[in-house]
Point group: D2
Chain length 434, copies 4
């Protein structure tokens, strides 16, 4: 007698990839899950980055998953499938998923530059993308300035730039070889612009700190990096809009960069739920009334969680390939479902995990228990950009009411930094000592 | 200058049909929305059925929307597209959507009999389906026994049956021409079976009561019907499983019959939200802090609501055409996402509507205000079968824990009725007097 | 054998009065509960005011419950005990409780004028209070202007005033003999002031409309009243602060006027819960898992609901007698717990009622079912002043952050009305025709 | 100029003690708060017990706070005031509050034995209570058996007992000098009984493990203790009911032992809220819309949290002194409000803390941030006995529906242990090696 394997809920809900590239990436990733799973607790406890795992990813070309096939990558280009892959990794370890997402995300955004950018941007992007495929590059991004510094590009007088400042919350920093960060020019000669310089690990002014000690996501290597007059050639800077330009076109790239991170929290919730149901099913006594109710409720919230993230990803994948639209409108249409989904993910996923702790009972309250890790990791979702909950309310309500405002959070930060900057920014040499 | 219309979030989320038939049905329904909208308040107030609207539906072939094209219908066969159509109607009036859903649902389930049933079932189904197209039939279903009676088929001694009992909550009853109800045989000769006789309006033993007076859904004509020894030819009875058979295959048909009703509550929530945002946007003063927060929160819940229903419908449409699976497993795989989605719909939709009342303020608390109607109508979702919340917890938790049980709620009812029936069942003549 | 009656949770939680006057009032009210209960459904259905009940209250001195004993009243002066009494009535009928609360509230606020006001105010208050005891007065308050009019006092040239405007949401209006309303002077001669004229039923310019048709609270007679140049002697006007004065002392009176209304929603939730538990306990089968869970959860929310309202009332009763404090600080200290409690009541009470509908099932969805009435009535809590949810967020957050603002909602309204008034206000003769 | 200090919401809500003893204890504890606060982060990080703090408590008589004055203690006997004291400590450090609560709780329960027990129990209680006052005793309780062992008393053949087994989750274990544990007799000669032996630290068979490593409450020293044939004189055993006796009288003692622990989670939520509001108030920009809304909402939940715990404590203090009631009924009447309050505390407190993280932003997600500690500590509330959420639903729903069952969770455990015990229990020597 042969048992026909049960089909899991298919098609939608982030259960399966929808492209061949998605299947290929997921299949390969599945091979790493035992390794990831087996070292997760130890890295969580010690707060260390899983360098071994990432070395393997590098050597085996995994970091080129989202690099276009023309450049030797695996050509994964659907956000939906990126999310399915990240979800699988997150079920084993959320920190690894977060760090890996950064690579997948860089492949996508640099791939966009390579396809649609000007000649300089295309050359820079191609260089980085080929290096990712070859295993020579781990490209990290640095978005958020440390409160003590405004990260600024100053002309070096001979056509290049000097970069100073400090970025915080740079995931995978310990293994990063290139850092694509957002900065602003200092306004000499022309109004200040947003810009994305690429800083290589061997830049003499760069320091990668070893200062990550999170409540959760402890193995994600989410460190600070400090720039002390880093020389940056002009060819390594992607120029963006002037500070204060209201350009909602930027929302498209921000959505693409970040939306698949929702899958991390879906994965954590799914892992917690599976583990919990299995634990209760093993008990000799039948489940009590409240256990039945919580399992049904949490299962339904998990379903909604998957469905909501899945639907946003599907929609955004379509918009992502539609370049006929007005760029600002396209940016807003991508950001809206992303933010709606993000608000729900950050409400539903933690509630599922918390109910799982309730169901499993006191054992889950020990530091090393997988559910205790889920409880800490899942809370990270609320702090991911764009946007925080508070900023998302401003964005979504202004969209609902038709109120015009600057929706680019990087531009917001840049403006705020300029107005407060002189008071709080400090010299880079001081920044290192924290 | 031409304005490019903004694309609403497309593809997923029940914003647009996915088949040509879905588009055709939706386009035609849109033509009726002004009529539906303009009479909704009055029918709600008086608790009357919108007979005029349904006469128009009948005459113009609208009740054949889900009848196969081979039989002259419009051939709408995707539950997703049924839901998109119902959602549009529900935004105008939830009661009308509920009554119309019953027709669309009958088209689908009778279409299934016509394609997959035995010769007798196929003949019966074809007759009804052609009549729906011709505008000669409004086919209602009656599921739930009145507490006072077990609806029972007794052999009439000459190969036919006599039907007695009482059904409650039969929507569109006032205009129903045929009633497909679930009953059980009385066990004479062979063990009692579940069976679905079709009772025509002119059956001498049939009484359609005028007893609907709901908290909400007041225009849905959700009345009781009483059977007093109705003669039913054998050819008008669809035979099902013996009472007590555990046949999860039945869950497939139950899912198909009911899942698109979720769109009613999605539509109510969407209508409430749209109306509220428009009202606040008209106010001269900018929205206060809590109004911004509630609008963003409720909008995100609305997004999750659409996404969750949408994902379940997409999944179930695929399973619905996959006849290669084990029928029991297929039934469970269809019922699970339906129930997960239903639990979330019944949590999210009322919360959105309630927040809308908060945002609009005291004006919404008058009986005739559209939001007051939404507040009453949206609460109906929790009472739709299958399952109620309490039964859904039993189903979903047993599925999660791998506990075997009878998942067919009609079978449950039949068993319970048999054990309690003799004590409470009364003669039909008495039933009429209530 | 004698059964010792079980002590219900005593002392705190609004289970029992704490003063002898509270016991006396509650004991007398209990005698009316059968009458109130027996007519509630019919008045709800028809939207009629229980005039018979209030005639009885009048004749038997019940409207003097909170009038000081020195003036012949029953001397109930603790808000806690007022709430216990109102809660008992609300369990029978929320509308009656709302209308009765208005009388109890007037007794308290007029009692304050009588004790602490100037000579004119004391004389006016005494007159009204003695009439309440004698059964000659039913004193209603009118707070909220109809959107079409700013209720304004204009000097009549001979020392008195002429009052024009329209008030909406005046509970017990059908039986009101005196209306204490808030208005503003027109600014002739001196800056506009807030003022509270008392208008008697026989005033030639007064019209009491019969226009209440609420979603819930349908028997509360919450009508509009229109003033068309009503002559008001100076002695019948209580003068307040100038419009725009930031005087948080007014918050004390607003708290005293309104906080005991929280007990209405506690009562509705308690009634729904009791009815539901009794219905489930009568069923032959044991409660299913989700029923057990919901009953325990809803019971706990009910406990928190009672505790939260109870604690706020206890605190405010103490502050109410402490006249040594700075009046503004006292106002804020009274309003804060009131608003905290109000926010929770309006969250917890509707959720309990909704869970009760779920537990009882489809029967609860008929218009006349007691739970359907609870579902409609309980939603009124969110619309009671002060404050609505949106305004409460402004008040509570500014209190938390130490942000100075005008907390008097009547003053807010007056200022807004002045700025928008000329555009929207209409002549009273037109107002009548709506 | 002198500023009149603002009165915090007084009287109810756990803001102030209600007895002189309560004031005395709180005043003395306040002196220790700077010490507790200053070492909390370090003990949390390392998972070490604050032995220094407890040495000070011991030396300065603080552990006699709840010991009757007749025995030299401070005579604190109101649970309300115990909670106020514990709340203050928990605002500084939840772990210390948990460990200190255990002492206060022992003083209360041993005080009850001293007043109401038989001669042997009274003598034993007096000895321990006097030692607590003198600083010679830190009395811990051990309730929950390690899953591997049933803690059992076997007659030693000469009138005493031998104790074997293992207890888990014994807070303050590292400094415990006496352990009052619950065990059962082995059934030799007479049916097995529940019993509470007192084991002294120097008992040759006792091992206090150093195995606490919690998700939160990391400084509470919540270790396992192992008994390997510990000799226990008969005079050191408090005999309870036979295993399986349904004696709800035991619920009274269980309530008294545990209810004041609710104040720990109230304190954590209050600390998180205060810290958050202060952080936001310091920011140069005004709070955004969602920040205002969350602060008002969370503040209201905090109010309800305090009110609910406060009301339960007030009620239970009254019942605690009422020995005229039927003991079983009294036990149930004490346990019901405790459990209602516990369910709400475990829902409200974590939600407040989580909102505080949202408001403060990414900084709160670092391991050492006070809010990160709050987030971990506050989750402990769900695991405290009696009861867990799942068991509380069984208790409260059976109380609501009038279903008779054994409500003594210790008895439950004993019965389950007996039925499963032989399969899983292991020899104590093996237990040590884990």
């Amino acid at each position: 007698m042969s048992l026909r394997p049960a089909r899991q809920e298919p098609i939608a809900g982030l259960y399966e990839p929808v492209t061949p590239a998605g299947h290929a990436v997921l299949d390969r990733l599945r091979g790493y899950l035992p390794l990831i799973r087996s070292t997760a607790a130890e890295h969580d406890r010690a707060g260390t980055f899983p360098t071994g795992t990432f070395d393997t990813f590098r050597k085996e070309g995994m970091l080129g998953a989202t690099v276009p096939t023309e450049l030797g990558g695996m050509g994964l280009d659907r956000l939906y499938d990126v999310a399915v892959a990240i979800l699988a990794v997150a079920q084993a370890d959320a920190s690894t998923a977060l760090a890996l997402h950064m690579q997948f995300s860089r492949g996508l955004t640099l791939g966009y530059e390579w396809r649609h950018g000007g000649p300089a941007a295309r050359a820079l992007a191609e260089r980085l993308l080929r290096a990712m495929v070859a295993g020579d590059a781990v490209v990290c991004s640095g978005i958020k300035d440390h409160h003590s510094a405004v990260t600024t590009l100053t002309p070096d007088g001979s056509g290049g730039w000097l970069l100073s400042g400090r970025k915080t919350l740079v995931s995978a920093g310990p293994v990063g070889t290139h850092f694509v960060i957002n900065a602003q020019t200092d306004g000499t000669g022309e109004p200040p612009r947003l810009a994305s310089p690429v800083v290589t690990r061997d830049n003499p002014g760069l320091s990668v700190l070893d200062n990550w000690d999170g409540l959760g996501m402890r193995a994600s290597g989410t460190v600070d990096i400090v720039f002390d007059n880093c020389p940056i050639p002009a060819s390594d800077v992607l120029m963006r809009d002037p500070v204060g330009a209201r350009n909602d076109a930027a929302l498209a790239g921000q959505t693409v960069s970040s939306i698949a991170m929702l899958a991390i929290y879906v994965g954590v919730a799914q892992a917690a739920y599976d583990l919990t149901v299995a634990a209760l099913a093993r008990r000799p006594e039948p489940p009590q009334a409240a256990a039945q109710t919580l399992v049904a409720d949490a299962g339904s919230r998990l379903y909604a969680l998957r469905a909501t993230a899945s639907t946003a990803l599907t929609t955004i994948d379509v918009l992502n390939t539609d370049t006929s639209m007005d760029p600002g409108e396209r940016g807003r249409q991508m950001m809206r479902p992303f933010q709606h989904a993000k608000m729900m993910v950050n409400q539903l996923a933690p509630s599922i995990v918390s109910d799982c702790l309730t169901l499993v009972g006191g054992a889950a309250f020990t530091a090393g228990h997988p559910l205790a890790r889920c409880y800490r990791d899942v809370r990270a979702g609320g702090f991911m950009q764009p946007y925080t909950y508070v900023d998302a309310v401003d964005f979504l309500s202004s969209q609902a009411f038709g109120i015009d405002r600057d929706n680019n959070y990087m531009s917001h930060w840049a403006i705020r930094a300029r107005s407060q900057g002189s008071a709080t920014a400090e010299s880079p040499s001081k920044l290192l000592s924290r």
